[in-house]
């Protein structure tokens, strides 16, 4: 499988890219910091025991004008494209976002508007090739408006809604949209937060994601137990949600 990967250098993206490289998928890495992408590429090759060089290209979720070019680079470097993975995104605690509206707006732009714009470019490119898989990391935070993730959750809710629409509209044409909803996963992004019950490890999530990509599952919770947790949270009446702290 030939994969354009935005966000392979950290956390769940790193774990997923390692699993993909290990099974022989051909990757092209996209990211903000090229040197960081290069180091990730070295790691993926060394772990896979492969001498094939993994191409890297610049792509910044805050610079949407570069999206089309970045994906074109990937398709050219890989001489094809079967899958686009987006794990990139930003997170901050609700109180920090409340204190700084500019930062909140930036977060929503990165996680929602610009991620959607990137997916639009990926969609066009994959459909032009006759189809493929678009796998995007949203979050369980988008399932329900909740006190600790009012703004971050809204950005992910928007993204999840977009991905669902995309799946309905283009699946018949060959575009398989896979929306990943990670629960709490122990990564650099969540470091310093107290892990709740059912907190997952990045590699565990990567296993779930890889299966979802292979099967074309439209929505996958990772780790799987979060499907049940969110089912419970979605069914809580509003007056209960207002009372509780999460």
């Amino acid at each position: 499988m030939k994969v354009a990967f935005l966000g392979a250098s950290k956390g769940m993206g790193r774990a997923l890219a390692r699993r993909m490289a290990a099974r022989g998928d051909e990757l092209c890495l996209l990211g903000r910091d090229l040197e960081d992408q290069r180091r990730t590429a070295l790691d993926l090759s060394a772990r896979a025991g492969s001498s094939r060089e993994i191409p890297v290209h610049h792509c910044d979720l805050e610079q949407p004008e570069g999206f089309a070019q970045a994906l074109k680079h990937c398709e050219e470097s890989l001489a094809g494209l079967d899958c686009v993975v987006v794990t990139a995104g930003v997170y901050d605690a609700q109180e920090n976002l409340e204190a700084d509206t500019d930062w909140a707006r930036r977060l929503m732009t990165i996680n929602f508007s610009n991620t959607v714009a990137f997916c639009e470019e990926a969609r066009k490119r994959l459909l032009a090739r006759g189809g493929g898989t678009l796998c995007v990391f949203s979050s369980v935070a988008g399932e329900r408006g909740r006190k600790p993730v009012v703004i971050y959750g809204a950005s992910k809710a928007g993204l999840s809604a977009y991905l669902e629409g995309l799946d309905h509209k283009f699946r018949a044409a060959g575009l398989r949209t896979v929306c990943i909803k990670p629960g709490f996963v122990k990564t650099g992004m969540t470091a310093g937060l107290k892990p709740p019950p059912f907190a997952g490890e990045p590699d565990q999530v990567a296993g779930v994601v890889l299966r979802a990509i292979d099967k074309g599952t439209p929505v996958a919770y990772a780790p799987g137990i979060w499907a049940l947790v969110m089912l419970a949270i979605r069914s809580l009446p509003r007056f209960v949600m207002r009372k509780i702290g999460f």
């Binding site: 250098s9 950290k10 956390g11 790193r14 960081d36 180091r39 990730t40 070295l42 790691d43 060394a46 772990r47 025991g49 990564t187 650099g188 470091a191 310093g192 107290k194």
Partner: protein
């Protein structure tokens, strides 16, 4: 939990004010940090912040392999990469770490900082002997590469330097080619300490891996009886399939303090010895079972309960004479012994070049001690014996040794302190241990 109430601990589980800060980016993470920390397997206070400081820079997210040369076996990686990942990536490719401690849950940075040794110390020395280069952040903020050729003083000071010379960002070392991923192993019951020391020395000639578990509760004629383990890599083709990483059990919570008491420890030690039937076994072994028997149970440190524990590990030099191990164990049992379900004996080879590296030619003895009101005086007494014999203790295990005792054990200390004065005149890099034992500013 409130940030200023947060605590962290070493493997011994004694809580200490502190907080781990994580990042994939060690250059950024190390910028203002006073100490790096890996997987927290140092038993005592080596990887805990000095008093008055909360944050330690935990490196475990920085785990990228940056180069591996299939021809030479040179591997370079970020310091947070752990041995478990290295083993399972490279075992089936015919490579293994040249030196491994008794757990694979250690980072490369930690292995360098403690200059870890393993069952093959009598042949391969410590891990530091196989390190070819380090990328470090030093106190003035610079990031520089050091090796035995370039800045050798800093290099050898960092190997075994417990993170006190700077932050280790990247480690480059020489992996070892192995003929197969399986171990040809033997284990046998040994009736007493004299026989144990003799067998360890004798086995060392023919076996690259040797160590023993001893029963440090029994006294008299059976003092120091136990089981000797020895092994070597099996010949290629010994077994067709590759070993798989085993599923692990876990101790989910701290067990009550009374779990380990004089009786349960005695029964445990007795049963391990008695159930080794026949008295000598040989065969192909899974490398995880051979190198890391304790890794099978995650969080095994919790069996000591909330009170926590410490490990006392010392080396008794050959110059102390043949009876040194018996004298030490007799002294220990006279003090009432230690409620130690684990006591390990190993012969050490030549002293390495690491400035504060632990091993020296002799016999190393390691025992776990549940912490109580008497632990400090017990450690003081044991240290007195070790000093008299010309031995020393292992910093990665220690939480109780007094500075005056450490100085008496460590003739190389002045050289190390001089190196730190040169590279870090303001004592930027400190740990709870360095404040306690080296008299660093708090």
């Amino acid at each position: 939990m409130d940030a200023d109430q947060s605590t962290i601990s070493g493997w011994g589980g004694l809580p200490h004010p502190g907080r781990e800060v994580f990042s994939e980016d060690l250059v950024r993470l190390s910028k203002d940090a006073v100490l790096s920390r890996g997987l927290g397997r140092a038993y005592g206070d080596s990887a805990l912040p000095p008093p008055g400081t909360l944050d330690v820079a935990t490196t475990i997210l920085a785990d990228r392999i940056l180069a591996f040369d299939e021809q030479s076996g040179i591997l370079r990686a970020e310091a947070g990469l752990d041995l478990h990942q290295i083993n399972w990536l490279f075992l089936e490719r015919g490579w293994f770490t040249p030196v491994t401690p008794g757990t694979q849950y250690v980072t490369l940075g930690g292995m360098v900082a403690a200059d870890v040794h393993g069952k093959n110390h009598h042949v391969e020395g410590c891990f530091g002997a196989h390190v070819t280069a380090l990328l470090m952040r030093v106190a003035d903020g610079r990031i520089l590469e050091c090796s035995a050729q370039h800045e050798p003083e800093l290099f050898w000071g960092t190997i075994g330097g417990m993170g006190l010379t700077g932050h280790i960002l990247e480690v480059e070392f020489q992996m070892k080619r192995i003929p197969s991923p399986w171990i040809q192993g033997e284990s046998m019951r040994v009736p007493d300490i004299e026989e144990f020391v003799r067998l360890l020395k004798e086995s060392g000639d023919a076996w690259p891996f040797t160590m023993g578990w001893i029963d440090c509760v029994s006294t008299g004629a059976s003092l120091g009886r136990g089981i000797l383990y020895r092994g070597r890599w099996a010949e290629s083709g010994s077994r067709a399939e590759a070993p798989q990483s085993k599923r692990r059990l876990s101790v989910p919570i701290n067990l009550p303090n009374f779990t380990l008491n004089k009786l349960s420890v005695k029964l445990f030690n007795e049963s391990i010895y008695r159930t080794h039937i026949p008295s000598k076994k040989a065969g192909l072994q899974h490398p995880e079972k051979f190198f890391y028997p304790l890794d099978k149970i995650l969080h095994w440190n919790r069996i000591y309960g909330k009170r926590g524990f410490t490990q006392y590990q010392c080396v008794l030099p050959n110059s102390a004479g043949q009876g040194a191990a018996r004298r030490f164990l007799e002294f220990l049992t006279k003090q009432g012994g230690a409620s130690s379900f684990l006591c390990v004996i190993k012969d050490c080879g030549a002293e390495g070049q690491g400035m504060l590296s632990f091993p020296m030619p002799g016999i190393s003895i390691a025992l776990d001690i549940a912490v109580d009101a008497n632990t400090q005086s017990l450690v003081n007494l044991l240290n007195g014996e070790v000093i008299e014999m010309g031995g020393r203790i292992y910093l990665a295990k220690d939480a109780f040794t007094r500075p005056e005792d450490f100085r008496l054990m460590e003739p190389r200390l002045d050289q190390f302190l001089e190196l730190r004065r040169k590279w870090d005149p303001d004592q930027k890099f400190r740990s709870a241990q360095s404040v306690r034992m080296l008299g660093d500013r708090a």
